[in-house]
């Protein structure tokens, strides 16, 4: 069973430390997103990377449309991976939607986690006037879903049959092997709906694990007021403003991202 989970979620373990740090990718790409950050933790931690089912090089056959139509299904993936590796006192680092996924996983199994590090998180992307501004209208999310439908990025399920039908063209197989951020458009669309139409504001007060909110500058997806909202409603949270701009500091500003995470863990004595 645990072997099956490790294969299903394309789990990669490295590092020389004992305390596990689990890096969870956000909506869009896969564990590759942590390429500039994860190696910096290998000296002192046990580094765990994985792909959610439906993303990256996970096992698409395990994709269950119902399970992955809500973020709870993704939280189940996190718990499955931790259980398969028998992890304890986990430091969970989640980018974007994985911030909320980590919160949901910690509500289910608070004893499993030592700290949660949330990189650019948002409990709700859609505006709910007059009290809450997530940054997007529902029509904006429809616009995103329209883009998802029209962009077949390294679409594995599209490429795979083409590869199978053309054995004399090995370059097609290579293209499939090297495809980055490859996503089946149906899977991506459902992930986008689960992510950007979710409202997890009511879950914030249920969290018992201490957390770090890493708030980027000029982040259109998780703006500063969303970070403020989270820090007000998430018990035991620390808000850190980053110099990094945009929504992907782990890719655009990896040094600052590594430094801030390490400082937070050191302050908690979790080295």
């Amino acid at each position: 069973m645990s072997e099956e989970i490790l294969r299903r979620n394309n789990v990669k373990v490295s590092g020389r430390g004992r305390r596990p740090v689990v890096f969870a990718h956000g909506f869009g790409c896969d564990q590759n997103m942590w390429r500039f950050v994860a190696p910096a933790f290998e000296d002192d931690y046990r580094v765990v990377l994985f792909d959610y089912v439906g993303s990256g090089k996970s096992d698409l056959r395990a994709y269950d449309p119902e399970r992955y139509s809500t973020l709870d299904g993704y939280a189940r993936d996190v718990l499955d991976v931790c259980e398969a590796l028998r992890l304890r006192d986990v430091v969970f680092v989640g980018h974007s939607v994985s911030g909320v996924v980590g919160l949901l996983a910690s509500i289910k199994e608070p004893g499993l986690f030592a700290r949660l590090v949330l990189v650019g998180p948002s409990p709700c992307y859609v505006n709910h006037p007059p009290d809450y501004r997530g940054g997007f209208e529902r029509a904006d999310i429809e616009g995103l879903l329209d883009l998802m439908d029209k962009n077949y990025i390294g679409w594995a399920s599209f490429l795979a049959p083409v590869v199978a039908k053309n054995p004399e063209r090995p370059e097609l197989a290579r293209e499939l092997e090297e495809s980055f951020c490859s996503t089946d458009p149906r899977v991506a669309r459902r992930f986008a709906e689960a992510t950007f139409l979710a409202d997890n504001r009511r879950d914030l007060p249920k969290v018992r694990v201490p957390s770090l909110i890493m708030q980027c500058s000029e982040d259109a997806i998780a703006p500063a007021e969303v970070g403020d909202y989270m820090s007000r409603h998430l018990p035991g949270s620390t808000l850190r403003q980053l110099d990094a701009t945009g929504h992907c500091p782990h890719m655009s500003h990896p040094e600052e991202t590594v430094r801030v995470i390490k400082e937070y863990l050191a302050a908690g004595g979790l080295t």
């Binding site: 790409c29 995103l144 990025i153 950007f196 259109a220 997806i221 992907c248 890719m251």
Partner: protein, 264 residues
């Protein structure tokens, strides 16, 4: 900027790692209704609608950083007056002056988008029609016919996959309860290929029926099937077998008329 690039029939921007636009050509500025220098220092996101900004941050930018390029990406640009320009974008990342710069060209695709919209909606309709057809086939593939009071007939035609055997078991059990059946005839005259797996599935169906308190009769067992059973060493222990459907019906009617053990 190079004059050729400035007026080339494609839009062009260069932007830094933080998304700030370093250069934009006149063609693009014209599409967006902006004057010279209209994008200087602005963020890439400022020419995208909100949904496009999410797409930029979650797909476009990661592809550039991790893969060094992004190709054939469909985007919609937003001009100064709010008008949208559907484009296909290609972008590549390279080092200039010690820091990464992302070069990006846009080609408008108004006509093609209309065509793709139609393709997409046709695809969705086809998928919907397929789902309806599958549901219909599923229904037709597991018919349960009442041939006499208390006697049901389940004809098996074609091939008997595991999924179909499961569906059939469910349909038969439901019918046994709802129609108070005492005998179920499983007719396999129309089964295309018979192997050990199929036989096992059939005996499982029969066992489930018996557990519901009804007798199960297997009919349509020809010479080929008999040979398969013998060769595979399979016994149909406890299962009534009749060669033809007619024989099975005669047996079933007699059994159904016999005094009932149930108190109904």
């Amino acid at each position: 900027m190079d004059e050729l690039l400035d007026t080339a029939p494609c839009g062009f921007i260069a932007f830094g790692n933080d998304g700030h636009i370093l250069a934009a050509n006149a063609t693009l500025l014209g599409w967006l209704g902006l004057g010279a220098g209209g994008l200087a220092g602005r963020h890439v996101e400022s020419i995208l609608p909100p949904g496009g900004r999410i797409f930029y941050q979650t797909y476009f930018f990661p592809l550039l950083v991790l893969h060094g390029r992004a190709e054939e990406i469909y985007l919609s640009l937003r001009g100064a007056g709010g008008e949208e320009v559907p484009v296909l974008a290609n972008a590549a990342r390279r080092e200039r002056g010690g820091s990464p710069v992302n070069d990006c060209v846009f080609v408008p695709m108004r006509q093609r988008r209309r065509f793709e919209d139609e393709l997409l909606s046709a695809k969705k309709e086809a998928e919907e029609a397929n789902r309806t057809k599958d549901a219909l086939i599923e229904e037709l593939s597991t018919p349960v016919i009442t041939v006499w009071d208390g006697v049901l007939l389940g004809p098996v035609i074609g091939s008997l996959s595991r999924e179909r055997a499961d569906l059939m078991t469910a349909a038969l059990l439901r019918a046994v309860v709802e129609r108070r059946a005492r005998v179920v005839i499983l007719d396999i005259t129309g089964v295309r290929t018979m192997d050990a797996d199929v036989v096992r599935r059939l005996t499982n169906v029969a066992a489930a029926v018996r557990l519901m308190g009804a007798e199960c009769v297997l009919t349509g067992v020809g010479a080929g099937v008999a040979r398969t059973l013998v060769r595979a060493g399979i016994e149909l222990g406890g299962l009534e077998v009749r060669r033809t459907l007619a024989d099975g019906l005669t047996h079933a009617l007699r059994a159904a008329r016999a005094p009932s053990l149930h108190n109904d």
